[in-house]
């Protein structure tokens, strides 16, 4: 039963992430997941400190503030350093992450966090922290994960066509009246929400893999967008399942195991892709 909860919740997050990841990949925003996941750390720590316990909703609100702060910081730095967006992003998110790490090390007990949790999450505790909903006992992280999942699915259904057009030909998109900046903001906001939700479970760095590996793997296997989305979804759940049981069998970090499995599956897809290419040529 414990396994079930863990796999369910991580899969909800994983599916959401892989769906958003498809868009992120085409919008060239893959490394923004790195930046966002680092930038929100101070927000999460402060939220946990303020409430004396882990509360995802408050964490989301405060983390969002830091997310916005991070973007403003990047824009400000870019004004001073013309045309160095990568450096501006790097300075901004490493600074915020460093602040977060200091907060964690100084207030570890009050915030119920340590640097290990920050780096690779604590998936295995999911079944043990429960809340009561009427007469049912469910994991604390379930409602937020479920809500995020629904939000993301709605967004993908709503934005599919628009994001496709923006990804393929941005100028055409603008010419038909699509507000590209607005859609960017919506996409990145959802990424932030999902990152906060996944934070406890996967940690700051490995959450990137959840967004990018399934879509990248699917991209190698198909030239049709609908198929890509479906494959991403499947790979996400598959690798979560396999990775989790790998960690049960071998020990070690569950989150890291999942990413390693994702790497292996990606490599297999790469080999297949090359084989198909050499057959065709």
């Amino acid at each position: 039963m414990q396994d079930f909860w863990i796999i369910l919740i991580v899969s909800l997050l994983g599916i959401s992430a892989s769906l958003l990841g498809c868009f992120l990949m085409f919008r060239k925003m893959a490394m923004l997941t790195d930046a966002i996941s680092h930038s929100i750390l101070p927000g999460i720590v402060i939220a946990y400190l303020l409430l004396g316990r882990k509360d995802n909703v408050t964490a989301l609100l405060i983390a969002s503030i830091f997310g916005i702060l991070s973007s403003l910081l990047v824009v400000w730095i870019e004004k001073k350093l013309k045309n160095r967006n990568d450096a501006a992003t790097g300075i901004s998110f490493t600074f915020l992450f460093a602040v977060g790490i200091i907060l964690v090390t100084l207030f570890a007990e009050q915030a119920d966090l340590d640097t290990e949790c920050v780096l690779f999450g604590e998936m295995l505790y999911i079944p043990f922290e429960t809340i009561w909903v009427s007469t049912n006992e469910i994991p604390r992280t379930l409602p937020f994960a479920l809500l995020t999942f629904i939000l993301v699915v709605l967004f993908v259904l709503f934005a599919y066509r628009t994001m496709t057009i923006i990804s393929f030909d941005e100028i055409f998109a603008i010419s038909v009246g699509i507000s590209v900046t607005t859609w960017n903001y919506i996409l990145l906001s959802l990424v932030s929400v999902l990152t906060v939700a996944s934070f406890e479970v996967l940690g700051s760095v490995l959450v990137i893999a959840l967004f990018i590996f399934p879509p990248a793997t699917a991209f190698l296997l198909t030239k049709r967008l609908e198929v890509m989305f479906v494959l991403s979804l499947i790979f996400s759940v598959l690798t979560i399942f396999l990775g989790y049981y790998l960690s049960v069998w071998q020990g070690g970090s569950s989150a890291a195991s999942i990413v390693i499995v994702q790497g292996i599956i990606f490599t297999l897809a790469l080999i297949y892709n090359k084989k198909v290419a050499s057959v065709n040529s």
Binding site: K79, R84, I102, T115, I208, A209, A256, L270
Partner: protein, 271 residues
């Protein structure tokens, strides 16, 4: 307080090396690449430790170098053989190598081995863990990088700003890239000891950007500034961290350096 001086000198050498290389990374817009490589070395360090079961500086650094080189090679391979975009590839490499490193790290922690505690310092840095033999390595690396930089500065400059012209006058762009790669790897491997894997890219990028603001036109001065700022922030950061023994040195160095950067930026007019 002999140890204190060793730490001081070692940290300064490490900082100076990072200062030189960081300027090139920023000029060549490879800041994120530096971040990917920095995260990737965790896999190498942990593998090396697992293989040798002791914290031997040379072995760990060798492991770090191997995984740094491997991550760069994989990035180039994927770029050449798939239609995946650059940023996607970087995200994949970063998270995968880091995951491998973390997985091995957790495994190591479950072993009963007294030497394993030193590994944590590679995550976020612990300047105080520098030993006299490390100083020796740091010295060699610094001189290596400084001399290489002195000789190839012109090549790197042309290759960075005008690839076509560079090729036309016989400076191979590919060769130059390999030089920058080599310098990045050794400086990252050294710098880890001060700030750790997770924040290493900050040590490369932030001081260099400060230097570029202070000396935007004269490249030689830029390098000098970068070295000075880097040494300054590493030393001050390490000092600050002494007051907070629960925290590693890396974050304090980065926070101090970033605040310094913001101050310098604020004094500059908008371009």
């Amino acid at each position: 307080m002999i140890n204190f001086w060793y730490v001081l000198i070692g940290a300064s050498l490490i900082a100076a090396t990072a200062g030189i290389v960081g300027v090139w990374l920023v000029l060549r817009r490879e800041a994120l690449r530096g971040d990917v490589v920095s995260h990737s070395v965790l896999a190498g360090i942990c593998t090396a430790f697992l293989a040798y079961r002791e914290k031997n500086g040379w072995i760990l650094l060798l492991g770090a170098s191997v995984s740094a080189w491997l991550s760069l090679w994989t990035m180039d391979f994927l770029q050449a053989h798939t239609k995946l975009k650059k940023d996607t590839i970087m995200a994949l490499i970063l998270s995968f190598f880091f995951a491998v490193g973390l997985w091995i790290l957790v495994k190591i922690q479950s072993l009963n081995n007294s030497a394993k505690s030193g590994l944590d310092s590679f995550l976020f840095g612990k300047t105080a863990s520098l030993l006299p033999q490390d100083i020796f390595v740091a010295l060699i690396v610094f001189f290596l990088v400084a001399i290489i930089n002195l000789f190839v500065k012109k090549w790197l400059f042309w290759a960075t700003f005008d690839e076509e012209y560079s090729e036309s006058i016989g400076y191979s762009v590919k060769f130059v890239r390999n030089i920058v790669t080599f310098m990045s790897i050794v400086s990252i491997v050294m710098g880890l000891q001060a700030v750790g894997v997770v924040l290493m890219s900050a040590l490369l990028i932030t001081p260099a950007t400060i230097a570029l603001v202070l000396s935007p036109k004269n490249l030689s001065n830029t390098f000098l500034w970068s070295i000075c700022v880097n040494v300054f922030v590493v030393l001050i950061g390490t000092l600050i961290s002494y007051f907070f023994p629960k925290s590693p040195t890396g974050p304090w160095i980065v926070i101090f350096c970033s605040l310094l950067a913001f101050g310098v930026f604020a004094m500059k007019k908008n371009r």
